[in-house]
Structures are given as C-alpha cells and as structure tokens.
C-alpha cells in the first residue's frame, strides 16, 4: 500500500488535479455533512434563491447521519451512507461550486459527467467503519435543519480522515478500474 496523501478541505483546482482514482488520502480541515432530507431542502432553498447554510465554493460534503454523541464525545459513530441516493441533487450542487463529496458506492453517469465538468472529486470512505471514522472528527456543530435530527447539516473539523479517490477530474472511476482487475 502506498502512503496516503494528506490533503486539506476546502479544495483548490490545483489540489484536485493531483488526485487520481484509487489513491488513498487523509483529509483534514472543514467538511459539511448533508444526506437525503438535507439535500432536498438545499435544492428547495436554491430554487427559491434563499440563503444557503454554507457557501459551496471549494467545499466538501460528507453523506452521513451520525449516531447521537454519548456524553464526553464530539460525535457518535459517523460512517458514510450510500451516495447514489444523492445523485439526483448532486449536479446542481457541483454547478454551485461544490468541490468534493465523501460517501460510499458508485455514482450515476450524470454525476460522473458533472464531476469532470466541474473539476470535482468523489471520495469513498469505508462503509461501516463508523466508530473508526468518528475518531478523525475533532469538532461537530449543527449549522442548519436541526429539526431533521440525524439528517441535519453539520460542520465538522476533521484530521486525517481516511478515504479513497473514487472519481477524479479526469473521468476515472475506482469501481470500474479496480473491479475489472479481480473479475474472473
């Protein structure tokens, strides 16, 4: 295994250009959490030209809904949810400047095209490694849609959050690229 590349969110185009599908990375910095219900509201807010909970430019969205934080902990378990359910909303967010997404599972063709067009990157984190991933989260704050409970929008500060580049700005896809090596 190659040494994972340390990267920092929010991202610049120059940083995105260094990332290739299949690379292991450790993400530090600020990332925002939004999943199904929050995406629906974000799109509704965009439709109505309302102010968004955060500016998407250069930012990372993590598809996740944590378990409640036990006393003394920053957050509960915090692994990725299936990204495919967000596919219908993703191209809009990318057009608005979103640079990176973290989730699990493959994306639709439309999302893959939007990733290339907007020079963005989709990372996968290990589905189910939720207790381990929570260790990389140093701060968590609810910034919008608190009524959605586990689906509200959070701002996280992470240090060395482990992920793999799944779709890069060049159009490569880790699932296609790696699965064919082992398909018999």
């Amino acid at each position: 295994m190659t040494v994972p590349l340390k990267i920092k969110s929010p991202f610049t185009d120059a940083e995105m250009a260094k990332l290739k599908a299949g690379m292991s990375v450790l993400i530090s910095g600020v990332i925002y959490v939004a999943r199904d219900a929050a995406h629906k509201r974000l799109i509704e807010a965009m439709d109505k030209d309302e102010k968004l909970p955060f500016d998407f430019k250069g930012q990372t969205v993590y598809y996740m809904g944590p378990s409640p934080a036990p006393p003394g902990k920053v957050i509960g378990s915090a692994g990725p949810t299936t990204s495919g359910r967000m596919d219908v909303y993703t191209p809009r967010l990318l057009s608005a400047g979103l640079k990176a997404m973290i989730g699990k599972g493959h994306r639709s063709t439309a999302v893959r095209e939007a990733i290339v067009k907007n020079k963005a990157v989709y990372f996968v984190a290990t589905g189910g490694a939720a207790a381990l991933l929570s260790k990389s989260i140093k701060k968590s704050e609810t910034i919008a849609y608190a009524d959605l409970g586990a689906e509200s929008v959070l701002r996280l500060e992470v240090v060395d959050f482990p992920a793999v580049v799944a779709n890069d700005i060049y159009g490569a896809d880790v699932f296609e690229q790696e699965q064919k090596k082992y398909k018999q």
Binding site: G105, V124, T126, G128, V174, Q177, K181
Partner: protein, 281 residues
C-alpha cells in the same frame, strides 16, 4: 402455563438492541480476519483492516459499529405454554426498542409516512416484529439491527419453474452485482427459495441469523451456497466496492416448498455489520 412478565421482555429487548449494535459477533469477526488474509487487492485489504479495527474501537468506546443502527427486526418464538402477564407482548417489545435505542445512544432511523412527510419517530419505533408459536414454555427473542443500505439493494424474483437451479444462481449473482459497493461488502447474502412472495423474503432474512459461514444442513442446499459464494467472489467487487476477491463472507440459503407455477427467490443482503443478538426466557 408459564408466566413471563411483559416488563422483563422490555428489559431484555432493550439490552439486546444495545449489545447487537456495539458488539460484532465472533463469527463475523473471524470471517473478516480470514477475508483479510485472503484478499488480493491492497485497497480491499486496507478496508478489511479498518473493519477489524472498527469492531475493536466500537467495543472499547461503547460506540455503535455502524452509525446506521438499522431497523430493529425482532423475531419472537413464543412457546405455546407461555403466558405473557402485566402487559401487551408487542408493546413490551416496542418499549424495549425505544429504551435500548435511547439508552444506548443509537441512531433513530425510522420515519413515519414514508412516501410523503417522512417524519422521524425519534425513538426507533415501531420495530418490525415476526412472531411464531412453537411448542414448549420458553420465549426466544432475537433482535436483528438491519441497516438501510443493504436492505435497499435486496430483491425478490418470481422466476418461472423452468429457470431452475441456474435461474436461481443467476438471479442471486445479478442482485449482488447491481448492489456493488452500495450494500457495504463484504456481504452476508441471505437467500430464500420457495414459498410465496411474503414467505420467501422472510426465509432470506431468517437465513441471515445463522452463524456466518455455517452451511445448510441439507446437502443440496449447502452445495448451492458454496457455488453461489464462489460465483459472487469472482465478480471482483471486493470490500467497499473498490475491487477485490472478497465480495461476500458467506451465502446462507433456506428452502421451502412452492406452488406448481412458481419459483420464488429472495435475496436479502446483509452488510458486514451483521448485527443480531438473542435471548431465551
């Protein structure tokens, strides 16, 4: 008749919900460690290492193995000589789920009016309860915490009888292939064959309660399980879908008779966080 207090049932269910979410079964952990030894993909190996560490961290830090603490699916085997006193059996189970998910800091993932409002019930209720009346004076309670990702990729196939064994194999393999990384591989694949639409899905779900890797006692079904596991692990999907030789840890199949016109096949996918605990009262 033997009396069992409803309050006792509530306490037991509460404890089972917490234990199932925090402690990964030894059978699953052993299977993950074996998979880590055999996995050929470096990315796949790394994923499996993370999953093994994750199980340790979850237990040490009293955190759920996965943030998706699932739908509480509760299987009750009620002895016909059991008399539940001091309350309603289903309500006692529901209260146990409510307490367990609250006390254990487990995620509450159930929404009411699923096709419109989708309002979270905020206490993980209602659970899904399957009750069976069996001989004896015991009450067996099994709590399975079923994550949404793998459940979403599960499928029912009403095959024609002519499709036969090969048809069953193709349907199961196709279901796993379409799920790809979405269902959190390495999977435990529950397969039901026979019965009716409702019963075959239940068979597939019950198959997941077996210890991981324990083959069917029926020779023909055990051979089918082995062949399915081989075929699935040749798909190349691998841990987390990023390629590899371990896509499933095990395939468990359950079979029952079917109508002359039907060959029902159900595939209930289980992510590697195969969480279930049981108690006998």
């Amino acid at each position: 008749m033997r009396d069992i207090e409803a309050g006792k049932i509530t306490e037991i269910v509460s404890g089972l919900c917490i234990k199932a979410n925090l402690v990964l079964g030894d059978d699953v952990l052993t299977a993950l460690k074996e998979a880590e030894q055999h996995e050929k993909s470096p990315l796949g190996k790394e994923t499996l290492e993370q999953l093994i560490s994750n199980a340790r961290i979850a237990q040490e830090d009293s955190l759920p193995i996965c943030q998706d603490c699932g739908t509480a699916v509760v299987f009750l085997e009620v002895g016909q000589d059991v008399h539940v006193v001091g309350g309603d059996l289903n309500k006692a189970v529901e209260e146990g789920v409510r307490r367990g998910y609250t006390r254990g800091y487990l995620r509450k993932s159930i929404v009411r009016q699923p096709y419109t409002a989708r309002i979270n019930t905020k206490d993980a209720t209602p659970p899904v309860i399957h009750t069976e009346i069996v001989p004896g004076d015991k009450l067996k309670i099994t709590v399975m915490c079923k994550g949404g990702g793998a459940e979403n990729m599960s499928r029912l196939g009403m095959l024609t009888p002519g499709a036969g064994r090969q048809g069953v194999i193709d349907f199961v393999v196709k279901t796993v292939e379409e799920a790809g990384g979405k269902a959190c591989p390495p999977l435990v694949v529950g397969v039901g064959i026979g019965g009716t639409t409702d019963m075959v899905m239940l068979l597939a779900k019950k198959a997941l309660l077996r210890k991981v890797g324990e083959n069917s006692r029926d020779i023909e079904t055990a051979a089918l399980e082995k062949e399915l596991l081989e075929r699935i692990n040749k798909l190349g999907i691998g841990p987390n879908g990023t390629g590899g030789t371990v896509t499933a840890l095990a395939v468990h199949a359950e079979v029952m008779p079917a109508h002359i016109a039907s060959l029902p096949v159900a595939v209930n996918l289980q992510c590697h966080a195969a969480r279930h605990q049981e108690a006998v009262l």
